[in-house]
């Protein structure tokens, strides 16, 4: 009996030694509550979540938290435009990030096109698409895109993208409804090393040799291609600029760097990456941060067009439109740039005042009801083409 007692004491004290030193290989983890506001201590959940058994017919996204929507178009793997409450609305899928088709540093990224194709296939073939609002998330992001969970025929698209290894779980700014399952799905994809987590994208040009192209050709190459080209600067917007040749025009995104050659009338030469930013074709990632002026003092004349000609065919072109009536000046609380709505009586259009304009043009420069002419370049933001001006002189009164 006493021997047993001694043995028990021995075992007990040995286990005490180990517990006191905290050196056990695996600690229980399931019960820990970190007490941070953004997490409520949910334990890990796995598997595709499901929609509640409700009649979604007639529901309103903003009022009821759900809405059956119509699919309009796609920007990339994680952003699409749906008709929400009768309005076409750019929608960013909550809590995911697919590789970029237009990254400012690397242009097209591996798996970006695969992610876009995956989303496109799901949305185009969907019978019912339902957007779900998350109470823990902002409704709009900083780019005025709606933030939502996207249900395609009862399956959560946000989840499917992660499960397929086509999206990162990202931007978890709150304790969103499906965070636990999203994180689990991502962990599973990481473990399998699929697609973005370790596979080579077979359609991606990892070498990406520089091609010499005209601006018209630059508009047609695969996004992410490295190109060498030349063109005349037609306008400068902040540190960015539009350039043009006989075949086409394109926007140069300078990423805050100040290139002195990017001024109107200068013919420039550069090597850069062709990317797309919310629909606008851009040259980014300028090689060696070098843009060379090869000629200057070139006269540039705007192409005279009417408002109904504004579109992809003349994107980035230097244009002039007369006889426009200002109908509204739409400013935003979150962003310095703003839109001036105009009409020629038949077609509506937008003049875009970029936040980086230097000098900046205050909104009260525009008066509703006045008739103006405008000189500018055709820009694009998602579905919307717009006339981007570079200064007060571009408004003709």
């Amino acid at each position: 009996m006493k021997k047993i007692l001694a043995l028990t004491a021995l075992i007990l004290s040995i286990s005490l030694v180990f517990t006191a030193c905290g050196r056990e290989a695996s600690e229980p983890k399931g019960t820990w509550d970190p007490m941070v506001p953004s997490e409520t201590g949910k334990t890990a959940e796995t598997g595709m979540p499901s929609l509640p058994d409700l009649d979604f017919e007639g529901m309103d996204f903003f009022e009821d938290g759900y809405e059956i929507v119509e699919y309009k178009s796609l920007s990339d793997g994680d952003t699409a435009t749906f008709v929400v409450g009768a309005l076409p609305t750019a929608t960013r899928f909550l809590a995911v990030d697919t590789p970029e088709t237009n990254s400012s540093t690397s242009g097209l990224q591996p798996w970006a096109l695969a992610a876009k194709a995956f989303t496109q296939e799901k949305l185009e073939n969907a019978e019912t698409i339902i957007l779900e609002k998350d109470d823990e998330s902002d409704i709009w992001d900083n780019y005025d895109r709606l933030l939502a969970w996207v249900w395609v025929d009862g399956k959560l698209l946000n989840y499917m993208l992660v499960e397929e290894g086509l999206a990162y779980v990202k931007y978890l700014y709150g304790d969103y409804k499906y965070n636990p399952v999203m994180i689990s799905a991502e962990a599973a994809a990481q473990k399998k090393d699929i697609k973005i987590w370790g596979e080579k994208d077979p359609s991606y040009d990892y070498e990406n040799k520089v091609k010499e192209v005209t601006l018209g050709e630059a508009r047609e190459v695969a996004r992410g291609s490295n190109v060498k080209l030349t063109g005349v600067v037609t306008a400068r917007i902040g540190s960015n600029a539009f350039i043009q040749d006989e075949t086409g025009a394109v926007y140069i995104y300078a990423n805050r760097y100040n290139y002195t050659a990017l001024n109107p009338g200068i013919r420039v030469e550069l090597t850069a990456k062709v990317t797309e930013y919310n629909g606008l074709l851009e040259l980014t990632d300028i090689e060696d941060k070098k843009i060379t002026a090869v000629d200057e003092g070139i006269e540039i004349l705007p192409m005279e067009i009417s408002l109904d000609e504004v579109g992809e065919d003349i994107e980035s072109r230097y244009i002039r439109i007369d006889g426009l009536t200002v109908t509204e000046v739409v400013t935003s609380d979150t962003e310095k740039g703003y839109d001036v709505h105009v009409t020629d009586g038949e077609t509506k259009g937008i003049i875009r005042i970029d936040k980086y304009l230097n000098p900046y043009i205050e909104p009260d420069f525009f008066k509703v009801g006045e008739v103006i002419g405008v000189i500018g370049n055709i820009g694009q933001y998602l579905e919307q083409y717009q006339i981007m001006i570079s200064g007060e002189d571009d408004i003709l009164r």
Partner: protein
């Protein structure tokens, strides 16, 4: 009776053994951060690291910094003598990385090593899944070589936990420098300011030429934290007590606000970062992070970087995050520590600095020929300045869970004073009250 005595003796022996075994876990305060190896203690028996050990490393580095992480991982996998393979996974920015670590600690698979800010590591510590590193760092066999070579400020931050022990090690570290338009300075015979008085004088002179404020400060919370301490004051301690509600912070903030009202200092404001107006020539000096140097530049002028101007005391902020170890088994933990040592080795931390937006964590890395050559090439002037600061000048946010909300409170105080919403005194009083 005899049996009881034996039992008592046995228990006493066990107790002694248990204390000895726990010695490295005791609550004794370390003497500074330089701890001599205890030669009286028998050498610890470390397990062998099995060949083929695979370690998971979660980080938040993307773009060029992510590529630099991959470069170091590949180098370690190639070079290490234990056959360890590290698999790095980018888990999103710091916020997403934090959320995923919390989720993993609540029941998922945890990595072996991860990157985090110290205040978040405090959160993870509650889960008891974090490895205290002193017994590794100071061990005579597996410990860190030339420990004091790691910058003092970094050693202090990573042991600024409640028990004074190390739960993390420095990883991606940056600091602030004074960026200036060298062409403008040369053309106008201006001298780069080295202290507050000179900063005021040069800013006034340059502002007169420019017709607008000449100097800006990117991070207003850094402004408050750094300048308060440069004025001889304190910020907080690691209990989260407010120590800034005194005359020094008021002197520091008043100095800045005088400049704003006098038209020679400004905040980034709507430009968000001072590099925008700086590149456009609308600003000729600003204090900003070394990690932002990729966004600085114009072919209209040459720019350069210098040490930040100091007040009464030489203090400069260290930023960036650290790495910490999660519990696994003894062999994997030892393997993880080998990887941590690798990342901090002079040649590797130098390689990291040359390929990322960050600085070496060791004094000696700054002397390595390849690093000196890199710095002298002038590719990035901030690297030279960043490594010129004395390691003892570095200040950091004292480590406690809510340190970030204190940061936000003092940033608000600077904004309110700069926009004239509140007086300097009121802004600081309110910030202090909001925390208490």
């Amino acid at each position: 009776m005899k049996m009881k005595k034996i039992l008592a003796l046995l228990l006493a022996v066990m107790l002694v053994v248990s204390f000895a075994a726990c010695k490295t876990d005791s609550n004794e305060e370390p003497e500074g951060t330089e701890k001599p190896m205890d030669s009286m203690e028998p050498a610890k028996e470390w397990p062998a690291i099995p060949d083929g050990t695979v370690l998971q490393f979660w980080h938040g580095m993307s773009g060029p910094n992510g590529e630099a992480v991959d470069l170091l991982i590949a180098k370690f996998n190639e070079e290490n003598e234990f056959g360890i393979t590290v698999e790095g996974t980018y888990q999103g920015g710091y916020g997403d990385l934090h959320t995923k670590l919390v989720a993993a600690l609540q029941g998922g698979d945890t990595p072996h090593i991860a990157q985090a800010y110290a205040n978040n590591i405090m959160v993870y510590m509650d889960s008891e899944a974090i490895v205290q590193l002193d017994e590794y760092i100071f061990d005579s066999q597996v410990g860190v070589e030339d420990w004091d070579d790691i910058l003092q400020g970094y050693r202090e931050e990573n042991s600024n936990y409640p028990d004074g022990k190390f739960y993390s090690l420095p990883f991606n570290k940056s600091t602030e420098v004074l960026y200036y338009n060298e062409t403008f300075f040369n053309e106008n015979n201006l001298t780069v300011p080295t202290n507050w008085e000179e900063l005021k004088d040069v800013s006034m002179a340059a502002s007169e030429i420019l017709g607008k404020p000449a100097f800006g400060y990117d991070s207003l919370s850094n402004l408050f934290i750094t300048w308060t301490q440069q004025a001889g004051g304190q910020y907080t301690n690691n209990n989260g007590d407010v120590l800034f509600d005194g005359p020094e912070s008021r002197e520091a903030l008043q100095y800045f606000i005088d400049g704003v009202q006098g038209g020679y200092f400004r905040t980034a404001g709507e430009d968000r970062y001072c590099s925008g107006p700086f590149n456009d020539g609308n600003l000729v000096m600003f204090i900003g992070s070394t990690s932002g140097s990729a966004y600085v530049g114009s072919d209209a002028f040459e720019w350069n970087a210098a040490m930040v101007p100091f007040g009464k005391v030489e203090k400069v902020i260290q930023q960036g995050s650290n790495m910490f170890m999660l519990k696994s088994n003894e062999a994997e933990q030892l393997a993880t520590f080998e990887f941590m040592k690798f990342l901090m080795a002079p040649e590797n931390t130098a390689l990291w600095a040359m390929n990322s937006g960050y600085l070496p964590v060791r004094e000696s890395a700054r002397e390595l020929p390849e690093y000196v050559e890199f710095v002298n090439s002038g590719v990035n002037p901030t690297k030279d300045v960043g490594t010129s600061y004395d390691g003892a000048w570095y200040i950091y946010d004292p480590v406690f869970k809510e340190s970030y909300s204190v940061r936000q409170a003092v940033e608000t105080a600077v904004e309110e004073a700069a926009t004239g919403v509140k007086s300097v005194d009121q802004a600081i009083t309110d910030a202090a009250a909001s925390i208490r």
